[in-house]
Symmetry: C2
Subunit: 500 residues, 2 copies
């Protein structure tokens, strides 16, 4: 009935059971479910800092502009940085379990310990952001990061102590010790910097921030430097290729596509349901109030919450459709480079802002001036979330032989259709943004029409694309026929010329 | 590097791309990611109604006993019923996508619409529960259910209109029309009852409740009746076997193990992080307050939140370890029957209560009397969550040939170890419960020791089990040697007797 679960690579055995080695290794297991669970935890944690942003009470008399600025300065920055930190931790986790392919009970428990510490990171970070001048906040964050690094180092050491758990490529390699030291070095680089930051926090705080900034941006800076070097000097010589190969194995290896998908799914799922969490808790009217205020008429009491429901449906639909686009895109992507992963992270970070934006639109249903701004914020967030998806597609097209399925490449059957799918949301949100600028009186109407039209546009997209392709083709053939006619005239002329 | 994603059954092709048919079917896709996303959404929604329970403010002067009773009557009942309703909807969804194995864009969008309505169900249900006498609440809930049913019926109709999307077994069957009517009948049975309930809500409310109760319990009642019939009368005759086969295909077919795992993972992940959601939002101290009240000492301000952090770690560890047990269990389960699915649902419903229980322990850190009750509630919830996991294992053992991997069956290498893993939490929680009854003064100490000891017990479990097995073996061999000695004495005697 159901599709069989993925087995670790190199295993042809379709047996549903877990133990794949006999003798002492009876306790070894494939790691996919552990990874799926980790992805779910990390994606929830990545988006959690949007809640303090979403629940900031903005006084209805206040202008949204000021409040948004106030928000932007602290809470949104905290949210975005948290998202980045968690995705860095997630990427490290992906890399770690590309080295270790099988798990046993000890590794599963160590991984859970690691997860627990990572889920605590956002809190320590928001403490650090709220008290930038207090050493304890930085100390806590750094200590957390150090302990995470140590647990990961223990996982690696355990893996190399039981080599049958490792990736095949390392298992058969002769340089296992070199690999081990190399991986430990990469893993412990961050914690060492954090350790220094923790020490510096007690006497020279700015240095701590520099060090922590280094940890987060180091992988990207390193890659940029390597990329620049390769562009200017050209790739390194044969002599060093052995070392380079080992290096690239961990730094430039594409991210596992499955885990990118699983992490994204988690973010989309929690974001889609963020508003219903609030609605279920806050918007069930009190039975006493209904009796006193609305004379027992439930519908009237509920109609007060109408905008909230609308906001929920709008954010669910937008998140759902952007998930749909993401899903369609990743169906045709065969390999995700690190840069595509980074673009995906940016897209997801904006996705996390969607419920917030839609909540704003519901809260300012009455105040017409603020509503336009709320709608515009929604449009901008939608635009960025979708344009980064589009950027993933463009990046994939640059290396289409390695990264794209043949059907989606230039000239492929699905190319035009994918293009239309990915371009729909950026175009619509940009259009709605400028329309609300021009026709500020009808902003709400424009926004609602956009929300209703988009799902149907997706349903009919295949037909629309076919029609427009047919029109383009007929126009092309028309112009070609003209060319052919011209050509014929020329060919008619030329023999005449040659004759003359 | 990474394991290949599961392909739909019967496909040997390892190609990473999605389109598996040529020609007109280029847009067809494997459905695994859609299902993973749906599972994530549904598992979040299933646990969402624990939030109103968790956030009920209990006055510290109030005795917990009364408050708990008050909670039990409404919010906990709403939570459990919501959980049950969502899992019924989830099971229907699993069944639906066991019929439809491939998807295209239209199906993906229809599924998203279906998800949106299902995520709204908990809210309508809690409205209905808060206003049991108001027709509108029942009407809304019933309408929602009717629309979900209609969307599912459209999905089925679409699937049969494009038969290449269907399950292989149905695709090659000659009775496609029969199957179609049969499936539509099963799917529309619920909505028809809900429709009647919606109508009845306006003039005879009790009838509505009876009808809605029927919808939720009908599958279980049907199964019970069939089971009883089979036990008393024996399985039906050959004549009807054709119809029976079709029937069993949808009602008694085991649930897809992967989807049970995915749904469970979602619940465990959201439950593990429920408390951090609150902590991130509420427990970042205000910088002004820290300055005024604690003279800028952050550590002192944070120490006020100490119990909350402890509660978070305790609930994360417990949820994580129960996930670990679940993971170990399902590694050895090859097939999940419906009854095992039901037990899993019960286990998950109690898991959902864990953060609430641990929050209670943190809130009553001072009041010693209430704390014992909070600790006992935690122990009871942990006990039930783990005992239902144990029950899954027992159920699996009853049909071990079909449901268990050879290593975990009676006499298998891993049998004793699995038994110990599954028995650890029920024993520990039961022990802690009775110890707190006896030594009420040391209840907190007992509880904390339990929390610290359990993870290490899991780490050392394999060694402990080996030691105890070795001891048992040596004792057995000792007693056997005694037997042998006795036997020898007997045999020594007997010849003598025969001689005499």
């Amino acid at each position: 009935m159901s599709a069989p679960r993925p087995q670790a690579e190199g295993e042809a055995a379709p047996a549903p059971g877990p133990p794949r080695h006999s003798g002492e290794l009876g306790s070894t297991q494939a790691s996919h479910r552990l990874l799926a669970y980790s992805d779910a935890l990390l994606s929830i944690i990545a988006t959690v800092m949007i809640l303090p942003v979403a629940h900031t009470k903005i006084h209805p008399d206040q202008k949204l502009g000021e409040s948004v600025q106030q928000l932007l300065l602290t809470k949104i920055a905290v949210y975005l940085m948290t998202f980045l930190i968690v995705t860095v931790a997630w990427a490290a986790h992906v890399r770690l379990f590309q080295v270790i392919e099988l798990i046993d009970d000890v590794l599963a428990l160590l991984n859970l310990a690691c997860m627990m510490l990572i889920t605590f990171l956002p809190y320590t970070f928001s403490l650090m952001a709220s008290f930038p001048g207090v050493p304890f906040g930085i100390f806590l964050f750094s200590t957390c990061a150090v302990v995470i690094g140590l647990v990961q180092a223990v996982i690696v050491a355990y893996g190399f102590y039981h080599p049958y758990l490792l990736n095949n490529q390392i298992q058969v390699s002769e340089n296992q010790v070199f690999y081990k030291h190399h991986i430990l070095q990469i893993i412990l680089r961050g914690p060492v910097l954090c350790f220094l930051a923790a020490i510096f926090s007690f006497f020279f705080i700015p240095m701590s921030y520099v060090l922590l900034g280094l940890v987060i941006f180091l992988p990207h800076i390193t890659r940029l430097i390597i990329w620049c070097k390769n562009k200017t000097v050209g790739p390194k010589e044969d002599e060093e290729s052995h070392r380079l190969e080992a290096f690239t194995f961990y730094l430039n290896e594409p991210l596992s596509k499955e885990r990118v998908e699983a992490f994204s799914d988690g973010v989309y799922a929690i974001v889609a349901t963020l508003l219903i969490l609030d609605i279920c808790e806050d918007n069930v009217p009190d039975s006493k109030e209904v009796k006193d205020k609305f004379h027992g008429r439930l519908i009237e009491a509920l109609s007060e919450y109408g905008p909230n429901f609308l906001a929920y449906f709008a954010s669910f639909v937008t998140t759902g459709l952007l998930w749909f686009v993401h899903h369609s895109l990743f169906l045709y992507i065969t390999k995700t480079s690190r840069f595509m992963g980074l673009l995906n992270t940016f897209s997801l970070a904006f996705i996390g802002g969607l419920p917030l934006a839609y909540q704003l639109t519901s809260e300012f249903a009455e105040k017409s001036h603020n509503e336009i701004e709320a709608i515009q914020v929604s449009c901008v967030i939608t635009f960025f979330a979708s344009i980064f998806q589009f950027a993933i597609w463009i990046t994939a097209l640059f290396h289409e032989r390695e990264t794209l399925h043949p059907l989606a490449r230039y000239g492929g059957k699905e190319h035009a259709f994918m293009f239309a799918k990915l371009a729909l949301y950026p175009c619509v949100s940009l259009g709605a943004f400028f329309l609300t600028c021009l026709l500020s009186k009808f902003s709400t109407a424009i926004f609602h029409i956009m929300q209703i039209v988009v799902p149907f546009a997706f349903l009919a997209l295949r037909i629309l694309v076919r029609i427009s392709l047919a029109i383009m083709k007929s126009m092309l053939s028309l112009s070609r026929r003209k060319n052919v006619v011209l050509d014929e005239e020329e060919t008619c002329l030329s023999p005449a010329e040659t004759l003359s």
